[in-house]
Symmetry: D2
Subunit: 369 residues, 4 copies
């Protein structure tokens, strides 16, 4: 019987990631992030690195402004609060980027301001926050700037040093097409200095300082603990691929897919949620479900036609669906299938949409480059 | 330096394919082919198995009818001739399936007939030959029936025993989505008996009988020579995937992609070469280039939009381009990108084609199932 | 130039782990652990699951006994303390298993006892703690029993339900030969009940209850957050391999490698640290460095001869080196190379050791089964 | 149920090997072979390339000397004969290298001599033929020199241009650790010229000239036919690894493993078949079975202890067993397990062998470098 002959799995039997490979790997992420700050690895998905950044930076006596454009943003404020900080949450309109005027206004009302946290782009709603303008305001107040760039890295320009970002978290799993069980944080000297209040006799997943004392200060050899060969080799392979394509080309490919998708959706006849390129993420596009339409039926039918469509968490009232054009999906064939697949799904429920016009608009936008 | 840290390759370090796995693997191919005949492995691409079948079956005094619907068909006649046979080539109209009436007519003119060779489907021109009718005629004459089913396996129904095919060659690399360096032949007892004239003191790649004496007659353990672990493990993985999906579903998926592609191309406004489903291969579709259009420019532009388009060898006069919807490409997203990508390419050269109508027709055909 | 042609990496482009695969995967880990308790996944290395268990179970008013046989054990006490518990650390003799008499004695001095934490086996020193006897004492006091079985799973018998373990953490990366970025915890109903004091409006990596509310209570579909396809597919592949070999055979293979290693080391003439099979881990063996010998020179030379030798953290005074015979290394060739490689390394520094006698003793022990 | 969730196979879904990658790949093999001759790929195991070389070079009126040191050597003479040549087989003593004096003597008796064929090293018996001396004699006669270097490539120095080898066949599957379904031939201009007599209107697997007209003369783009992505990507990965290690280091590693193995076997007390380093292959070692010993019992028992031991085809009278230390097995741990595993197997049948002495001698030889 053949059932006990197993095809050998390429995922097992990997050699350990070499001790002398971690530092060069970190340096390649520094280059992607355009930073001279330290870069450290957190061996878990990016939300762990984010929680750790809040737990490590937050302290009694700190006043923080937390810009909230999705549920994850709410968590960040909560994590800072647990660490003892006084946190002011600033909520954007549902499913919309924060307005810079709102940021300026709330900052003006805070005599003390030690830290500002913001998400660069949100895949859940497909929005892009005005990071440059926010950074400029934050620096006027000399507060620490913490940026969640997990969903924007590879899809948007990001220059950590030009924006003087003190702590920036990314992951290889979105536009970079890499694994999800590893995250990367760039940490400025100001950030490290802000963490020294932490009094921890034993290590903790949530203490970023452990990575400084356990890895950076020891010369960046093997990372402490038990590294996952799968994650590090996959991250290296993803980096190699990105470097070969070129980060600028990766970003352009995402922008192209995003523009073609939104052009296609508009021609299809659905209500695109974020139309302005400057306010929209390149990794996902969202549109509003027509009333009285079953979201799950749309998702199932579109999926059967090669689309990747998901409920857009973060703005339930707006009834948004989210279309994924990230990583390998930021290419002609999958992005076109997204738009046409959604069209077929809507038609199958009796909604009058224009698949032909959508395909033409998509093609025109894509061919325009 | 990181340049000397190599990502470990999953393609190296495979364990040898186990000696006791070859027989079950062969039996699974028997099931796909619906045959009780012997099934043997030829460790090379399918053209080697085909040449070997001609070299092994051909002999002085044999009269053969060779049905030619592509350049490969011409080779088969030549291989039989080299082996000593008297070969009558029957050529179809350029780029078209053979007409059964032509087969009947030429057979009527041959008082002796020992072997008939035919290709089931041709990817180069996208045609399907009337195998069932041919088989019926061949059996009336009690001749050996040799079928090249490399391009039809997985895309069309094929029942080796119902059609009493004496020698059938397939490969895992097309609709089955497997490797190209291994081919599979089913061989009837009549075929083995016809080969015994071969007098070979040493083994030869072109002598199928070596596989009988060296493998079948020894109990089907390890195949003789040095098996490629890459090919056998990949073939097993491909089989596993096909069995999980179900051969009928695989065939249906190819038929759906083919129908949608041809509907899309017609709506686009190009001249589809083989329209009739019963005469068309499900693995590839062909269309005629408009006059004065540069084929390579079309190919390059369509490729940039996710299409897989190739020159259709086999009918240069007809100026055909071939669209590939085989294996993983027999799915909504890649097949749609084929059609729309070709549309964009034609438009870019000033040809007036209807991308929107094509996308609509494609979607309708696909959704119709 | 070929340098810009990249071999495609098998570690990228994996399909997402299917939503309906998590529950069966968890059930297979339940079977390995011999438990009917809930099993949950923590997407990080096992130390994160351990810290989370302490953070989730620990509380004000809790009295805990923490059995310390390595630095990791110390951390556990600290994590419980941070969560508010009163923790009594019970330290074993350096590099030795805890004595059950010491456990009984210290328990007798604690009028209140809510939780006992212990590591089953320690790879750092190669010891095995008397888990069965400890469990028996703990149950007399109706305290919660928390077991770190990361290093014993697959190397020693472990029956979670027979031992009534309330919270047991394992990882696939040791004897199971799987990935390190995923850990698995079995959690009893008593443990879940003990966690409800945790008041957390937002999720936290360190709150195991999130896995109950976010995954178990929702029917065990896709795990919350962004699962790593690399980790889950690798864990599944490792499980498949373990199930095919049989857990009992895996354990036996580790025991055989351990016995042969220790027999070989004794015949070599070095001081084996833990000789008694009942007190020794099967995953690693430790021996004392002769005085005046440079540990790193031994490690480097032995490594060059195929051995895997590491400093044995956890008992610096004893100057131990640790030999790894875990997972794929729990086989004849790598385990023999360990012993002979260490012999060559010692000889190269002028230490008189008996390589021939070691190879003979190793072989005899291995052949004895 | 989990049985219908398949771990994705890294062996499927590979991108086609890029058309512009074949030429650089060939050039890297040229560098390994130290030749400026053309290098072509035969998409099948090396025996096919060998048969093709005989079928392509052989012709009526040719006089060939075929040096036979294994069954494969006999086949080569037969293939030349089929092609029409007059072939003189020169057989070495059973299981021994050819003596150069025998070559000189037989050549002296041949007034016409057009081609000499020889195998560089034989894994079946572990011997190395005196290639340099043979080449020198062949060149005096201006005959074509054909060398089967499949088993010597990577294990022995080989300089195709210094030795003026006209046709040299290698495969990546032995010392290079690559796939077995691809072979590589270097072909001199004299060889191409010698092939033009072949009159072939259609292609044949056995006609190397097809590779000249179909690939070399067309600018070395995509190879003709249907290339196996598995084989070419695996060959590239193997080359990359070899180049990183350095061919000289690879050869040294094989020599070290061979010397240590033979030292170990002698100390074990068995009769090593080829003792002289200059006459022995570095890829395999052979020893004579003691009388009245069951070869299969030895093989089974040694295999259970990590050895790779096989019957040595080619000299049945000598009752040889062959020990494999090729590729990844040319390292300390597997080579030591070979020797000790054989020792355990012999002991288990009551043969008095010295495992300890063998391990010591092996270690000494290995450490000596």
């Amino acid at each position: 019987m053949t059932q006990n002959i197993l095809t050998p799995s390429a995922l097992l039997g990997l050699p350990p990631y070499p001790a002398n490979a971690y530092a060069p790997l970190a340096d390649r992420f520094k280059a992607l992030l355009k930073t001279k700050n330290d870069v450290v690895f957190v061996q878990a998905e990016a939300i762990v690195a984010l929680e750790a950044s809040a737990a490590s930076l937050g302290r009694q006596g700190m006043v923080a402004l937390n810009i909230v454009t999705s549920p994850y943003g709410k968590y960040y404020g909560e994590w800072l609060r647990r660490a003892g900080a006084e946190v002011h949450d600033l909520l954007a309109d549902e499913g919309r980027p924060i307005r810079i005027s709102a940021v300026i206004e709330v900052m003006a009302g805070l005599p003390q301001l030690d830290l500002v946290a913001v998400v660069h782009a949100e895949t859940s709603t497909g929005i892009l926050n005005p990071l440059e303008a926010i950074a400029s305001e934050v620096h006027k107040r000399k507060a620490l700037l913490v940026v969640d760039a997990v969903a924007s890295m590879g899809g948007h320009e990001l220059d950590v040093d030009a924006l003087e970002i003190d702590l920036c978290v990314i992951g290889p799993q979105k536009a970079l097409g890499g694994p999800a069980g590893l995250s990367i944080a760039s940490v400025s000297q100001r950030s490290w200095a802000a963490m020294v209040h932490v009094d921890k006799p034993s290590p903790s997943t949530l203490n970023l300082l452990d990575l400084k004392t356990g890895w950076l200060d020891k010369g960046r050899g093997a990372v402490p603990g038990m590294p996952s060969a799968q994650e590090f080799w996959a991250a290296e392979a993803a980096l190699q691929r990105i470097e070969q394509e070129g980060l600028a080309a990766v970003i352009k490919r995402h922008r192209l897919a995003a523009n073609a998708t939104r052009s296609g959706l508009e021609a299809l006849g659905v209500n695109v949620w974020v139309k302005n390129e400057g306010k929209a993420s390149t990794l996902a596009s969202t549109f509003q479900l027509p009333t009285n339409v079953d979201a799950q039926a749309i998702i199932d039918n579109a999926t059967a036609h090669g689309a990747v469509v998901l409920p857009a968490h973060g703005s339930p009232g707006a009834r948004l669906l989210r279309i994924d054009h990230t990583g390998a999906r930021a290419n002609f064939a999958p992005a076109l299938a997204n738009v046409v697949g959604v069209g077929i799904a809507l038609q199958s429920l009796g909604i009058d949409v224009k698949i032909g016009a959508a395909a033409e608009a998509f093609s025109r936008a894509f061919a325009a480059g």
